[in-house]
Amino acid sequence: MAGTNEVDFSLDGEVFGAGDGTGPAAAAAPAKPLGNPTLVVDHLHVSYRVFGGKRLGASTGFKPSLYRRLFERATRSVGAVSEVPAVRGVSFVAREGESIGIIGRNGAGKSTLLRAMAGLMPYSDGAVYAQGQCALLGVNAALLTGLTGERNVMLGGLALGLSRAEVKARFDSIVEFADLAEFIHLPMSAYSSGMAARLRFAISTAKVPDILMIDEALSTGDTAFQRRSRDKINQVRAQAGTVFLVSHSANAIRSMCERALWLDKGQLVMDGPAEAVLEAYNRAYNDAAA
């Protein structure tokens, strides 16, 4: 477990500040040796375009005419497009071998941040720089549910950029990792949510990614699967990769991550050692509840 004292945290802060004045050279020599940057997120903004809400008209306070009321009732849902900002100016640097937990309340922008970092969701402003290949595992990252698990393994592997022969060579180990046995020949619509999550995890990590992002995907698996995924995560980190983990479980973050980001309303509240961030997060919650 990494050190959780205040000194370590303040050092981290200095590392981040150093880039402004003295350049990246200063960042290369912190107290705890860190690897090279694998992911740089720079003032990232992501907003969703949402159709079909109700247009929020400016209320004048006067009772409008009958014509006007009828017209507005009819057109209230026409052209109702709203921009929903999900991530608002997040910046941080992730390094080789790091495992970073992301915490925050529902709707804080955690999943959107991961998607944007993985290049799956266009962002509106800022920049993301990353090394190598990103793999994102999310609860929503469904493959094609009408097809068999077998077919999904082939599709997923090909989409990751493996060749047909490479997918075939890894097929057995993928099925074994997902622990699906004969279910692999059934359509995914027949799978339980845990089974589908296991298959997704197995497919996404068939090619060991440089950056692995896990969005609550472990919570649906059973204990045996969680242990296997933990091994996989350690494998990624051992190969100088970086792991991101979004979870509502403080224990999962504590046991798998040494650093944590706390997001609230799309903004970064705190970035530091997991233990310290979790403590501050819990304190903020308990204060709010009291």
Binding site: M121, P122, A127, Y129, L268
Partner: protein, 295 residues
Amino acid sequence: MTVQPPPALSSAAAAALAAKYGLRRIGARPPLGAYTASLWRRRDFTWTLATSDAYGKNQGSYLGQVWGVLKPLLQFGVFFVVFGLLMPAGTRAGIGDFLSYLVIGTFLFEFMASGLNNSGRAIAAKIKLVRALEFPRAVLPISVTCTELIMMWPATLVMLAIVLVRGHYPTWRWLLLPCAIALIYLFVLGCGFFLARIVSATPDLGNLVPIATQLLRFVAGVFFSIETLAADFGWLGQAAILEPFALYLRLARSTLMAEVHASGADWAMGVGYALVVLVSGYIYFWLAEARYGRD
């Protein structure tokens, strides 16, 4: 709350740090060459996606894949009743063998129409895949049109059988039919690139695509001879003869039916339409690569 958000690097410093360690910018549009290369590497993925979709489309019914032949046959039956039996014979003027003329027109136009309709929704239909995996998005319009091509095969065999039964025996010109179908495919794919981008940016326009193909069905000469009718319409008639959909139907018919003629200029124009639309559509689609999957 006592915690402070950590200080961030300036944008210039972040970019310098990324450049120093060789990080690539995520979400930026790759250059056209690199994009095409990565698209080529995903050809197996594109094809697997297309075959899976083709198989899945007719699942979930008792007759399954038989519908691939039944649907165009029924469509053909409707047109035959309306335009072959109910309408006065004058609408069939200038057509030798109406039955063969109609079956080729119906089956090939159905392929073009469903290719256009489906490629408009190519991104939206696979939005979960887009949000889950990173791959060049041009895979999607290509695989959607490939799906239509795969599903057209059984219908093409039925079409050939009907044409044979009507007494059109194979000549060397039959060898040109695959060329005509290939040109049609490339043209539809090019249109598909345009539609996929336009509809993903403005979903409303997706509702207009079926209306547009419906209009084309009537003006492209699926069930009457556009060449015979065009004489009454001056330059508008000439335009209707030369527009791509009518032209491609004429090319396809000329390979199977002796009474339909297509000149070398017609074939050259067919190649021209396909290439121009394909290349411009591909570039148009690629220009918005960084924006797909936003909603």
